[in-house]
């Protein structure tokens, strides 16, 4: 997760909530359980107290009798933590009766520790008991017998406090474990939720990258309803952007084309004259012509980004170009051979393929003695890996004079004509090279089998 990301924000808020709610929940649960435990413990002691008193009262009206041995052996086992004790008050010299578990030790009493009785006349206190065990003691002042023989006793029952505390400690550790597990689980779930919930955004990011790299022209895919308005807006923005670019491109084109007629007029007007002014006009008009072509090409080239999604059949383009050139070079009576596998498709714009092939075929026709051949071959992607993309090889060969190895090796610079004697803009090869480069293709010149020029184009194949 990156800093300053939505995912991190969502995760941190969830984590903060989980981390703060867990101790609170833990505290509430623990407090409740503690209360229940203590209440149950007290109820048990109260019950024992009631039983001890009841047992002691069974004897006579003279006084209490020692209670029977009852109760789970707790009160028999020495220092079990569970005790009862009956201590005569009012200064009567009776002996203190106590459970065997006390083994003669004295059970400290709440009344001796200034504890006030509650509404049921019972005093409660946690006191240090025998054998250094903390005990909870319930004490009641009870009168046995009636009349003169009436005797008041302090009847006390004690329970081992550690019994409650051990239980609470065990509960506490279990509670902490459970809550920690729940917390970790919740955080993991949050993480997953954030990832899963924000996954459409990741997908959108990829789709946007595809748009930027020209693989897509709009944001496609079923996105969740929350981002759909964004998707729609983005697509509308992309569309309007494309329209603006398209309009700008058209304007540049129109401007450039509109300039050509006045340029033609200037050129013609001046060429009828041999004055220095006329020569200057011709020179400048020629420069302007070159500039117009240059920027027209640039505008076309720039507008190319974002339209790479198109696909063009090579066969029909080649045929129509060959037909047009056959007419243009009718006098030379050239024979054209086209060898193109059916269904060979170029991954790019039709106009660009026409421009490249048109220039190459025009050059070839200009120089050929008798024949021009076009050979197209499609090289599908290796290992059937569609992402790698295949290549289209287009060879345009002529049987003309060709070029020397040195000339072929020379970089194909814009506006440079390899031979100035043949008419033409001289831009042919460099436009082809520029366009091929635009499509990450290749353009090379070689010697053809008949000794002429072989122009070799490598372009992306549409699978």
């Amino acid at each position: 997760m990156k800093p300053n990301s939505l995912a991190l924000r969502l995760f941190l808020t969830a984590a903060a909530w989980v981390l703060s709610i867990m101790p609170v929940a833990g505290y509430i649960i623990y407090a409740r359980y503690h209360h229940e435990m203590v209440t149950a413990f007290d109820a048990r002691i109260s019950l024992f107290l009631a039983v001890v008193i009841n047992d002691a009262e069974q004897g006579s009206e003279e006084g209490p009798t020692e209670p029977d041995y009852w109760g789970e052996g707790l009160f028999v086992q020495v220092h079990s933590g569970w005790y009862w004790q009956m201590k005569p008050l009012d200064g009567k010299p009776a002996e203190i009766m106590q459970s065997r578990s006390l083994a003669g030790d004295y059970l400290p009493l709440p009344s001796e520790n200034d504890v006030e009785p509650n509404e049921k006349e019972v005093r409660w206190a946690n006191l240090p008991g025998p054998a250094e065990q903390a005990v909870r003691v319930a004490e009641m002042i009870y009168q046995f017998g009636t009349g003169k023989s009436a005797q008041r006793y302090s009847v006390a029952v004690a329970g081992r406090l550690s019994e409650v505390e051990d239980n609470l400690a065990a509960f506490r550790s279990q509670l902490i474990q459970a809550l920690a597990l729940a917390g970790v689980g919740l955080l993991a779930a949050t993480l997953f939720q954030v990832r899963f919930g924000l996954f459409p955004l990741t997908r959108m990011e990829r789709a946007l990258a595809a748009i930027r790299s020209g693989e897509a022209s709009r944001l496609e895919g079923q996105l969740p309803s929350e981002v759909r308005p964004l998707q729609q807006e983005l697509n509308a923005l992309l569309k309007s952007n494309q329209e603006i670019v398209e309009r700008a491109r058209t304007h540049v084109g129109n401007l450039a084309h509109a300039l050509k007629t006045p340029l033609a007029v200037l050129l013609n007007e001046a060429s009828g004259d041999d004055s220095p002014l006329a020569r200057k006009v011709i020179e400048q008009a020629d420069t302007m012509t070159a500039q117009v072509s240059l920027y027209l090409d640039r505008a076309r080239m720039a507008a190319r980004i974002g339209v790479i999604g198109s696909v063009t059949e090579v066969g029909p383009v080649t045929e129509s170009l060959v037909r047009a050139l056959g007419r243009l070079y009718r006098d030379k009576d050239l024979s054209y051979t086209v060898d193109c596998p059916p269904g060979a498709r170029f991954k790019g714009e039709r106009q660009d393929l026409e421009e490249m092939l048109g220039n190459l075929l025009d050059n070839a026709s200009k120089w050929a003695h008798s024949s021009v051949s076009v050979a197209v071959s499609a090289l599908p992607p290796a290992n059937g890996d569609a992402a790698a993309g295949g290549w289209l090889h287009i060879h345009v060969d002529d049987d003309g004079p060709g070029l020397t190895a040195d000339q072929r090796a020379e970089p194909i610079a814009r506006g440079r004509r390899l031979d100035e004697t043949k008419p033409g803009s001289g831009l042919g090869h460099s436009i082809v090279a520029d366009l091929a480069y635009c499509y990450s293709g290749k353009f090379e010149l070689d010697r053809s089998e008949t000794g002429g020029l072989s122009a070799r184009l490598t372009l992306p194949l549409a699978v």
Partner: protein, 221 residues
């Protein structure tokens, strides 16, 4: 040789008319597609220079309509649109050649000559007929290597006959191909010019075929 220029830019139209007239062609001009289409449809032209971006009717449509009506004169498209897609569209519509603006007039004239020659079945730029030799590039005629002086009308007449040598050319054909549309078409003028030509070249070369017209041929007798 009669040429039609369809170009909406007044200056360029004027320049084309003047350059082609100077080169010895009878030139008609139109400034929009409809007018151009009408002229091309009704008059016999040896070459048409057709702009594509025309008012009223697009040049490509004009061309298509001519071709559909079997008007097969050579057409040179003149256009600012020089992409191959535009060229292919023009050629597919039936154009014979394609000249991109801005152009040098000399180049256009060369293309016009090439179309005229091609239409009359001559492959080279100079046409020979016995001792006569027509250099279409310079618009000069030589007789036994000696240049002969010709007025522009005489030149047009002789050039037309030489392009169509060994073929009977009727008077009306001559009138149609040698004069602009608004020229006073009195076929008697043809007779006058034939008479003048016969004084400058071996007189027997131009034969009068009664009721049919004239034929330029090498005198074998």
């Amino acid at each position: 040789m009669r040429v039609l220029i369809v170009e909406d830019d007044r200056d360029l139209n004027r320049q084309l008319v003047s350059a082609l007239s100077d080169a010895g062609y009878a030139v008609d001009s139109a400034f929009d597609g409809e007018e151009g289409h009408f002229l091309g449809d009704t008059e016999p032209y040896d070459v048409v220079i057709l702009d594509t971006g025309l008012p009223k009717m697009d040049g490509i449509r004009v061309l298509e309509q001519w071709r559909r009506a079997d008007r097969n004169m050579p057409v040179i498209i003149l256009t600012a649109r020089d992409r191959w897609s535009d060229k292919v569209a023009g050629m597919d519509a039936g154009a014979d050649d394609y000249v991109a603006k801005p152009f040098h007039m000399q180049e256009l004239l060369a293309r016009v000559r090439a179309q005229v020659r091609r239409a009359s079945g001559h492959a080279r730029s100079d046409i020979e007929c016995g001792p006569l030799r027509l250099d279409t590039k310079t618009a000069r005629v030589t007789l036994n290597g000696q240049p002969i002086k010709l007025t522009s009308h005489e030149y047009r007449l002789l050039a037309y006959l030489m392009h169509h040598n060994e073929r009977v050319v009727s008077r009306s054909e001559l009138v149609e191909h040698l004069y602009e549309q608004d020229f006073d078409r009195d076929s008697n003028t043809i007779e006058v010019f034939i008479g003048r030509l016969r004084k400058k070249i071996p007189p027997d070369m131009i034969k009068t075929i009664r009721g049919l017209g004239y034929r330029l041929s090498i005198d074998e007798t």
